[in-house]
């Protein structure tokens, strides 16, 4: 059953997934096992997205499925620690003055299903908030998102703020989104430009040293 459950979730069969989730809970199965299967299903979704088989609508819908499954399972959890192995910490956010979050959330999703511990600061994040988050989390990787041309300067200012705070050398910075490209990377003095969410994952893996 677990395998078909994983596949049903990966295939986004909403009715079947929910029915089967209920059945598994009713039969007294360990809720952690159901969540673990959901995670595997989401991993396949992430892989299909990376392979160009799935697109944004599938990602969003799979997130909705996971939310429903989690809500069903949660009341049956006996407070056991939900320890999940994480590949490393990454902080992400959309830079100051820009309120776009679609690309940011895709990167969040893809980093998450690939095992990273993601701190998503949201949109319109001032430079000092990025600095504080990097200090608090000690994350080695920072992802800056931006959709519009004004984000060029906000990215540059964020990188400069990290320099000023004396932590630039401890952090690898990737940028992405809308009008960003390698020219902007040079302008903002970031370490890499990623053209999509998969690039964010492989950059984070490369920098943190995960295979």
């Amino acid at each position: 059953m677990p395998e078909s459950y994983v596949n049903l979730l990966a295939d986004l069969k909403e009715d079947e997934v929910l029915k089967l989730t209920k059945k598994r809970i009713d039969s007294g199965e360990d809720p952690m096992k159901i969540l673990e299967d959901s995670r595997k299903g989401m991993e396949i979704v992430g892989k299909r997205f990376a392979d160009g088989e799935y697109f944004l609508p599938e990602l969003v819908f799979s997130g909705e499925l996971l939310k429903q499954v989690t809500a069903m399972v949660k009341p049956h959890m006996s407070g056991k620690a939900t320890q999940v192995k994480k590949a490393g910490k990454v902080v992400i956010g959309t830079v100051a003055g820009d309120i776009h979050d679609i690309g940011l959330n895709i990167v969040d999703f893809m980093l998450d299903v690939n095992g990273f511990d993601v701190t998503n600061l949201g949109v319109d994040v001032p430079a000092d908030k990025f600095v504080k988050a990097m200090k608090d989390t000690k994350a080695p990787v920072l992802g800056l998102s931006g959709f519009l041309t004004p984000a060029f300067d906000a990215m540059k200012e964020t990188v400069e703020a990290l320099e000023k705070a004396g932590i630039r050398k401890n952090v690898k910075i990737m940028i992405g989104g809308g009008q960003m490209d390698d020219e902007v990377r040079k302008y903002a003095k970031a370490d890499a430009f990623g053209k999509d969410a998969m690039a964010a994952v492989s950059l984070a893996k490369k920098w943190i040293g995960v295979n």
Binding site: Y54, L56, F61, I99, L148, V184
Partner: protein, 460 residues
């Protein structure tokens, strides 16, 4: 008769020829091009200005028809750049129309040759925006930092998943009594209006007896003078620009978009539309077909003879990264194509602006009559676009904003040279930026013009 154009200019509407009904779409378009070329409302300051105006319009119309003009026409990615060039900003323009007018005129006089130029079309009046209190859009100083350089849209699930039927049954009623109160602070009181079909005779008075509704209408009436001042300033700017011989590319076509975007952007949002694609695809199709037909019957069909036939259509969620080819074919393209075809039939020129990348879409969108649609690309590979769409559409684009903003003038010229080499042969190409810049070097904008003159001349 007059009507409002894209650039906020009031444009006289001319009569159509008597045999309009018998004309082919190409003949109708030719009539509209003639109207663009000979604008009765423009008072040219000199014969030279008039001659330049005609040269420039002809450059565009020939490119649109996929013929070879004298040289590649250019649409500079100027946007609100003049404001920053002059040391002002977006926020200032929202409130100080006198400064706005002064800056635009100064910029026009200092820049020199351009193929097209417009007033600050997308800067709204600050006082009106404040009073409207829109939740859909944030502006510098109104939801965004005061020094923000552009407006930004806020997505949300403003329409509920089960409201499609209500919208289809009575779209005006739905938009005014349901959507407006949700999206716009000033219109919260509209939730108290009776169904719109009831608003006849004394019902109007009864509705306004409600203090909240009365206040909303009072505020709207008080804003009318502010609107007139804003419009007047814009009209003066545009009249000045035209009179010096600079045409507008978008002076009067109807504004329209893709029906999918209509539902995905402001009504349901990205999350909501994704749910609908899986949970109620047929309902979504029904709604998009309904919307397309409504747009066609109420806006596009019998569209009057206005200053110009080009219809700028920003497209958002059909790009390579948003959806698959299959989803594009199923959800995005059919109703968009329907709108294109209706515009073409009227002699109008749909000019979709394909935000993001359309590399995977090029084959799919080639399914329109030759020269009917002009495709403006943001980040699409232009050489591939020329190869695939070269026999179907005039293509427009796409010096990246990053290059225009951060590179040297020499690099900009070189980028344009390559684009022209890839896209110009045989005609059907307009050089443009991928998107507009706000700040940056004026030399880089001049470099684009220079490149077109140096590399984009067609040999006779």
């Amino acid at each position: 008769m007059t009507m409002r154009g894209f650039d906020n200019q009031v444009i006289p509407v001319l009569d159509k020829p008597e045999n309009w009904a018998e004309m082919t779409w190409r003949e109708r378009r030719e009539e509209r091009f003639k109207r663009w070329l000979n604008p009765p409302e423009v008072k040219f300051v000199s014969p030279a200005a008039k001659r330049l105006f005609k040269e420039r319009v002809t450059r565009f119309t020939r490119a649109i028809k996929m013929e070879e003009p004298d040289r590649v026409p250019v649409m500079l990615p100027t946007g609100n750049y003049p404001a920053y060039w002059a040391g002002a900003d977006f926020h200032t323009l929202m409130y100080d129309y006198v400064t706005m007018r002064r800056i635009w005129i100064k910029y026009l006089e200092e820049f020199g040759d351009m193929d097209t130029f417009n007033g600050p079309a997308l800067v709204p009046s600050g006082r009106i925006a404040e009073a409207l209190d829109s939740r859909l859009q944030k502006l510098p100083g109104l939801g965004l930092p005061q020094d923000a350089t552009m407006n930004q849209f806020v997505e949300g699930e403003y329409m509920a998943a089960d409201e499609y039927d209500r919208l289809i049954a009575d779209p005006s009623d739905y938009h005014i009594r349901v959507m407006s109160p949700r999206t716009t602070g000033l219109f919260e009181s509209f939730a108290k209006l009776p169904p719109l079909r009831m608003l006849q005779g004394a019902f109007w008075v009864a509705a306004l007896a409600d203090p909240d509704l009365r206040q909303t209408f009072q505020i709207l009436m008080d804003l009318a003078d502010e609107h007139r001042r804003h419009q007047q300033a814009n009209m003066e700017i545009n009249a000045y620009i035209r009179s010096r011989g600079f045409p507008s590319l978008f002076g009067g076509g109807p504004m329209a978009g893709a029906p999918f975007d209509h539902f995905a952007d402001t009504l349901r949002g990205t999350r909501g539309i994704a749910m609908d694609m899986f949970r109620q695809p047929r309902k979504l199709h029904e709604a998009m077909e309904f919307w397309a037909d409504l747009m066609i019957s109420s806006t596009i069909k019998n569209f009057p003879m206005t200053a110009g036939p080009v219809c700028m259509m920003p497209l958002h969620k059909g790009d390579d990264t948003f959806m698959s080819d299959k989803q594009f074919e199923e959800f995005y393209w059919p109703t968009l194509r329907k709108i294109f075809m209706a515009m073409i039939e009227e002699g109008l020129v749909p000019m979709p602006f394909a935000e993001g990348k359309y590399n995977n879409r090029l084959k799919q969108i080639a399914d329109t009559p030759k020269s009917g649609v002009v495709w403006y690309f943001d980040q699409t590979d232009m050489a591939a676009a020329k190869k695939i769409l070269g026999n179907t559409s005039c293509i427009v684009g796409n010096v990246p904003t990053s290059v225009v903003k951060t590179a040297t003038p020499r690099q900009v010229r070189e980028y344009c040279r390559k684009l022209i080499a890839d896209c110009a042969p045989g005609g059907g190409y307009i050089l443009a930026g991928g998107a507009s810049i706000d700040k940056g070097k004026i030399e880089n904008l001049r470099a684009m013009m220079d490149a077109a003159k140096e590399y984009g001349v067609y040999k006779k």
